[in-house]
């Protein structure tokens, strides 16, 4: 009885202390910080660093946006942001990274009988497809190592005659190229390469990614083909901004030199010379474009 009473006393003391802490650090502390955050200079930041155009809030300086039409096609008059894994793209209510690993290279192919089926693209195929698309949009070479010319992963399943991938090669399938695609290699070790069929079991084959002859430093920069950590990355690398300049200038009908000057104004170097990376804030840049060189659709 005594022991029970002692445990109970202990628990009651614990609960009281917890409630007191809740009042101090759970209510008092955030309210004090909130109070300080109302000071002029801090308040706009505490409220989300919002940006306006013609008096309308169009977003936050810190939160990236997609510059695509309703179908997800890039709008050529705007600088494009990075790929995003947050919801349908740049959705602050569903922030996310892709979480796909460095050896995510084999696709699950879509079911040709089911129009709605998209399969499951590996990270490699996503990278290859984005590279190709950016290359086409901005008129640069979209080729990358380990990518096929049609923009999927260059990955073979190699079947051997003996156990443990020994003996001779009997069959080779290009895993990410769904039939009737034309395989990126005609033959591998003397065996004709096949395209991949939906639903076929290729798990017995040895998975061999093929690097190919694309340059190790492709023309399309790394950030243009990879999803960010937050899915809300407001910035792109200066290199990615550079390859977009010609296209945006042409669409808006302004000289490239003027656009270069504008991009340079929104380019931020490493803070203090060593913190982070140089970058360009896409929303601020596009906002400046709309203010200075309004785009009138000719559609």
């Amino acid at each position: 009885m005594n022991a029970v009473a002692s445990y109970l006393r202990n628990a009651v003391a614990a609960l009281r202390i917890l409630l007191l802490l809740t009042v101090i650090v759970g209510i008092g502390y955030p309210l004090v910080v909130f109070g300080i955050a109302q000071l002029p200079g801090l308040q706009t930041r505490a409220n989300g660093s919002l940006l306006t155009l013609h008096g309308q809030v169009v977003g936050s300086r810190l939160i990236g946006q997609g510059f695509t039409d309703a179908d997800g096609k890039p709008l050529p008059q705007y600088f494009q942001s990075r790929p995003s894994a947050a919801g349908a793209g740049y959705d602050p209510t569903a922030t996310s990274a892709s979480n796909l690993g460095p050896e995510s290279i084999v696709d699950t192919l879509p079911d040709p009988a089911d129009k709605a089926s998209t399969g499951k693209q590996s990270l490699l195929t996503q990278v290859c497809a984005r590279s190709l698309a950016v290359g086409r949009l901005d008129g640069v070479d979209g080729a990358r190592p380990f990518c096929t010319p049609d923009g999927v992963g260059a990955v073979l399943a190699v079947f051997w005659s003996g156990p443990g991938y020994s003996g001779t090669v009997t069959r080779v399938v290009s895993l990410d190229q769904a039939c009737p695609a034309h395989p990126f290699l005609a033959t591998y070790r003397g065996v004709a390469v096949e395209c991949a069929r939906f639903g076929a079991d290729y798990s017995k084959g040895q998975v061999v990614p093929i690097q190919g002859s694309a340059p190790a430093r492709p023309a399309v920069p790394a950030d243009a083909v990879t999803a960010s950590a937050s899915g809300l990355d407001p910035e792109i690398s200066p290199a990615y901004a550079t390859i977009q300049e010609a296209r945006v200038a042409k669409t808006r009908g302004i000289p490239v030199a003027q656009l270069e000057a504008l991009v340079a104004r929104y380019r931020t170097g490493r803070d203090l010379g060593f913190l982070g990376e140089p970058r360009v804030n896409v929303l601020r840049l596009n906002l400046a474009l709309d203010q200075q060189y309004p785009y009138t659709a000719t559609r």
Binding site: N10, L15, P30, R45, N99, V127, P218, A222, E277
Partner: protein
């Protein structure tokens, strides 16, 4: 300056800043924890709480207070999570399920801050502030309290008293964590971190679409999240979210904050046992392990070995443009070497060997410098084992800091060391045997195993970061990981306090010629070696099947 050199300077400035605060901050914490005077507000708390602040507790009483506080905290937080959808969320939220509420309550009370929920769509402002953030303070303070009780075990002789838990808890919260948090939070707001109570607002974007701008008291939570090595983000993507980590220098500050208590506590330890050299030896081991780990991580992420990183030309998948690769890698190392688990980039998409480093850092037992308090008691346990191993080599009864390490002490230390591997490996084994658990893996092959191994390693070591591809919001993972977090937190604490009690009751042994000096380079080397070997042997098979199988081909 190249990206790599910028990263090196980033690391160097961090190390210099940590070295600069080590002495003053460590001394300050020692003063707070040994002082006899109570502040007026503390007296009020003790009176309203009904505790006697001057009652020195035995190890069992101390433990009972720790457990009572933690049990009450879990129940309170669980209850709050179950009803939070009714208390002013800024949007419509469904009720959190029982399994997810249990997981989240266990997660925040154990300083793990594993998130099986997504903050922006599952939680309201009230529960974030009064539920989660309160545990950010409390769980950090509990860790420090237990570590200090162990230090008192070394410092005191012929007593069964280890101090008063309620006093330690209150003082750490009010005199160490709170002032630091207020300053950090205000600085964060200045950098663009938000601190508001707005409803979610829909704006029309330039491209003609719509976007929801989220709100919340983020800066206040962010500060204690790093200082207390908690790591539970206000939003799903944690410190990668521009509202939680808006710019390059907040990134630096966040890494500094999550390391500063861990790297300063050895000084507190040295002060309290009256031999500062012992503290230097401990912090040297932490430093060696941390520098080794971060250098390897920078090399692996910088050389971007692997198919996708080679195709991309850099390991940028899952990183933010403003941070870049080196600074993200340094954050990842810091967060896994401590029990923080906040992330500014996504470890699941790291190179195979970079990902292996994050796993290894946690498997090391998070001792370099480890979580608030838990890092110090973790490395002191390893020191006990090291002295024992050294004693075996020369055939002498081992002693550390004037205390004999007999069978009882060694049993406590060994049980401590066995707890986490047992939880990690059994948990992963069970998960791999269950189809419903395997279905949670996003990636296939060795990387899928790594995701599950990471989840259990993170839970058992109370880290909280994830290979986030794993779909962890299932009944199995919520209960399994929640249980592992509780066992991984409180079993070791029982052993630590038991060891502390047994050390405090001893007579001091005068040092003789045969005593191993524990402040010299030899001991630093031995302790580093023991830390690495104990870990490597325990986890090597699991690592070989996961990240090593993936990365070495």
């Amino acid at each position: 300056m190249s990206s790599t050199w910028a990263g090196v300077v980033f690391l160097g400035t961090l190390a210099a800043a940590l070295a600069a605060v080590h002495v003053p901050f460590g001394d300050y914490m020692a003063r707070v924890l040994t002082g006899t005077r109570h502040l007026a507000v503390e007296r009020v708390i003790y009176r309203l709480g009904g505790v006697a602040p001057d009652a020195d507790q035995t190890w069992k009483r101390y433990l009972r207070s720790v457990l009572a506080f933690s049990v009450v905290s879990v129940l309170f937080l669980y209850g709050l999570l179950r009803v939070q959808h009714l208390i002013w969320p800024p949007y419509t939220v469904p009720q959190m399920t029982a399994d997810q509420s249990f997981n989240t309550a266990a997660s925040f009370v154990t300083n793990t801050n594993w998130q099986s929920y997504s903050g922006e769509s599952a939680l309201g402002y009230v529960v974030q502030m009064t539920g989660l953030a309160v545990q950010n303070f409390a769980s950090a303070a509990v860790g420090i309290a237990v570590a200090i009780a162990l230090v008192r075990g070394f410092a005191r002789t012929r007593t069964d008293r280890l101090g008063n838990f309620w006093v330690d808890l209150t003082r750490v919260c009010l005199r160490i964590l709170l002032p630091l948090s207020v300053v950090a939070a205000v600085v964060f707001v200045g950098a663009g971190m938000i601190e508001n109570f707005h409803h979610y607002a829909t704006v029309h974007t330039l491209a003609g679409g719509q976007q929801t701008i989220t709100g919340g008291p983020v800066a206040s939570q962010e500060a204690i999240k790093e200082i207390g090595t908690n790591g539970g983000g206000f939003y799903n993507v944690n410190s990668a979210h521009p509202f939680e980590n808006p710019t390059t220098w907040t990134n630096w500050i966040e890494i500094f904050l999550l390391l500063c208590i861990g790297f300063s506590l050895p000084r507190t330890f040295g002060r309290m046992i009256g031999d500062k050299r012992q503290g230097y030896a401990i912090v040297a081991v932490m430093g060696v392990l941390a520098v080794g780990s971060v250098v390897l991580m920078l090399v692996f992420q910088g050389t971007h070995h692997g198919t996708v990183p080679t195709a991309v030309g850099a390991s940028t998948e899952g990183t933010e443009t403003r941070f870049g690769i080196p600074d993200s890698a340094i954050f990842a190392t810091g967060t896994t070497l401590t029990s923080t688990g906040s992330v500014d980039s996504f470890h699941d998409s790291y190179t195979s060997l970079g990902g292996a480093m994050t796993l290894l850092n946690m498997m090391l037992g998070e001792v370099a410098p480890g979580g608030t308090g838990s890092g110090l008691y973790g490395i002191l346990i390893l020191a006990v084992i090291t002295v024992f191993v050294a004693g075996l080599m020369v055939g002498r009864t081992p002693e550390y800091l004037g205390k004999k390490l007999g069978a009882r002490e060694l049993k406590f230390a060994s049980l401590y060391l066995l707890t986490t591997p047992a939880l990690v490996l059994t948990g992963t084994g069970i998960a791999m045997a269950l189809p419903i658990a395997r279905a949670g893996m996003l990636n296939s092959g060795p990387h899928g195993l790594s995701e599950v191994l990471y989840a259990f390693t993170s839970a058992a070591n109370n880290n909280g970061s994830a290979f986030a591809g794993l779909s962890a919001n299932t009944v199995f993972y919520n209960y399994a990981l929640g249980t592992v977090m509780l066992l991984g937190r409180f079993l070791p604490m029982i052993f630590v306090l038991g060891l502390a009690g047994s050390l405090a009751s001893q007579q001091p042994v005068p040092a003789s010629d045969g005593t191993l000096p524990t402040h010299r380079l030899l001991f630093v080397g031995l302790l580093t070696g023991v830390a690495l070997i104990v870990v490597a042997l325990t986890y090597f098979p699991a690592l070989a099947l996961g990240p090593l199988a993936e990365g070495l081909h």
